[in-house]
Symmetry: C2
Subunit: 416 residues, 2 copies
Amino acid sequence: MERITASIITIGDELLIGQVIDTNSAWMSQELNKIGVWVHYRVAVGDVWNDIWNALEEAGKRSNIILITGGLGPTADDITKPLLCKYFDGKMIVDEQALQNIKTIFKKLNRPLIERNVKQAEVPDTCTVIQNKRGTAPGMWFEKYAKVFVSMPGVPHEMKGIMTDDVLPRLLQQFNMPYIGHRTLLTAGAGESFLAELIKDWEALLPSNIKLAYLPNYGLVRLRLTAIGENKNKVEKLLDNEFGKLKILTKEALVAEEDISLEKLIGRLLKERGKTVAAAESCTGGYIAHLLTSVPGSSAYFYGSVVSYDNSIKENLLNVPEAIIHEEGAVSEETVTYMIKGVLEIMKTDFAVAVSGIMGPDGGAQEKPVGTVWIAAGNIEKTEAQKFFFRFDRQRNIELTAMYALNLLRQFILKN
Amino acid sequence: MERITASIITIGDELLIGQVIDTNSAWMSQELNKIGVWVHYRVAVGDVWNDIWNALEEAGKRSNIILITGGLGPTADDITKPLLCKYFDGKMIVDEQALQNIKTIFKKLNRPLIERNVKQAEVPDTCTVIQNKRGTAPGMWFEKYAKVFVSMPGVPHEMKGIMTDDVLPRLLQQFNMPYIGHRTLLTAGAGESFLAELIKDWEALLPSNIKLAYLPNYGLVRLRLTAIGENKNKVEKLLDNEFGKLKILTKEALVAEEDISLEKLIGRLLKERGKTVAAAESCTGGYIAHLLTSVPGSSAYFYGSVVSYDNSIKENLLNVPEAIIHEEGAVSEETVTYMIKGVLEIMKTDFAVAVSGIMGPDGGAQEKPVGTVWIAAGNIEKTEAQKFFFRFDRQRNIELTAMYALNLLRQFILKN
């Protein structure tokens, strides 16, 4: 059985110079995967005629579907559209619907419409125009050598809208897709090689149409099974069977039998129990609250956080005794325990999570070097605290601290 | 003059399936750019022999330097190292120093050393080994057809360490780099096409060795000039000259004459003035505090944040009168004004920033639909508030709200 393959081409100097991180490609890959398309090649090129042209040629030889993002903005550094016009042997015409869309947007924004905005309504006459409901640059669908090429703007929410509303449904109509199924489980507290050792005998005997991947991320490791086949029922049955074995083999580290974030998992646990949570954060500076509130509907169980960056806030707002901070230090088991107590009193929630640490690059001392962190989770009756030591840069230390704190909170909720 | 070019090859199914976002490439591009290397091609391929092989072949034809990340982990889905061994006509040998490093790491972690960990010390005998001080997989430096190929682990902090300590200095030694200079300015409140219109006459007359790029991001637009040449002084002089003109042309939207984040800029303004700030956040859920504390040394001016997600916290902790929330709503000018007042009282800082809004997907009403946001900045004497309406998804609404709030805070600090 032949797999339908896709290449993603991202155009723009801003990616190549590293000023922008490419989040589009990951999203597109996920969505294509879900409908049975295997993204086997991703390439980023600058605003350079020959590089774009070659990328199209190579991708056209390699893949059934070529998705192109970027290079369609209203400013002068864009050469993508003239190139597409030439590559697909067209001539430029104004698309009336796209022009109407641009006029409507500028009227809403109350901004004057200028020549370069009008130009965005021009498209090669050899494409099928895909209207952009969220921005001014329309999408363009071309076919050549029995391959599909789609050009979309690089603005993430515009690209996502065009993909979801038009491109994915059209691809499903045009191609006869094989079935691809996934199962993912989440583990915590075990390294990649340790997990590999646990499951090596089972892994060696996996059928050839099923693949295992290790996806480590901030102290968590996801294990993902991917199976492919023509018959959906057979693929799903095979996945259920092997996933069942995998769950048993990894049970000591297993956190969730699905691909879920810790913050979502905690939200679910709290909602199931009708309980609430608050945070008291020093070194994570609001990042734990940010993670918890990134989940839609989190206002049902998350009341708030006291970001007590300065010690005066720990004392005055969270009632950590000055003597404790003076004697034990702001980064200590006693301090995070008082922080739990303090925030529970203020927020009146069922559970609380607290952190205090030194994230670097400055602020370390011989006794408590950069990376020293105390985390705690508790309720009105008791508190559990743990000490960690992270050796990374500030950003990663913050992220790791938040992840371990959320995991401790998860365990505490399960036990209490 | 010939430019030194580089390709980046990223290996791993996890990127192609979209479960991991590629942040390595952006960082590598930035660093290479700084030493005068132009990254003109980035490609991601899966753990598939032919795809990796072809990517090496194509990149080798195209670029002087080929940097490869990923595919070196201890688990069984890795085929990169045997492939490199074959591609560079080597045979696999154990590198004693790498083995010693692995043993030391496992001893520190107090984990048993297993066969697959030992295998990580194996390298092709045709490479120069680059020791990895932060992990178990060593880097490998190959030369073929007068091109340099470097393979590195995909774990970001390991890759960054190897690049900084070894690869970048070696590249500087090996190649005769041209000089590349950049100037970036930050604007707020003006769209990309509006800026383009302001500067089009100047842009049309730019010399051929200088390039302008528009980098829009969350309501801010960065304008970057890049110039290249053999003589550093000439390049810098040219840049100074053109950048001077650009600053004048864009002055009504100009925020900073450099590539800086708003949170860093605010930190600098506060430090210069010896002032402090606190936040009161509802809909951003800690994200503003997270941004402010992502800056090293922010503890000097950022005291903390009250994340008052639940209305009870707004009332009890920030002293927003219940009647105000009842009559005007939690998302109102009156509420954010009281939030400023409340947090200034608690935290005793010079300035405060506050936000309240509806981020979606739920929680909207006819009068106040999803995306409605009130932001405020103030001090003990006065408060300025603004209303916004964002039409995006939850994540983007949160990020935009934070960005506009920080910009309002910046303006308030400048005026007061």
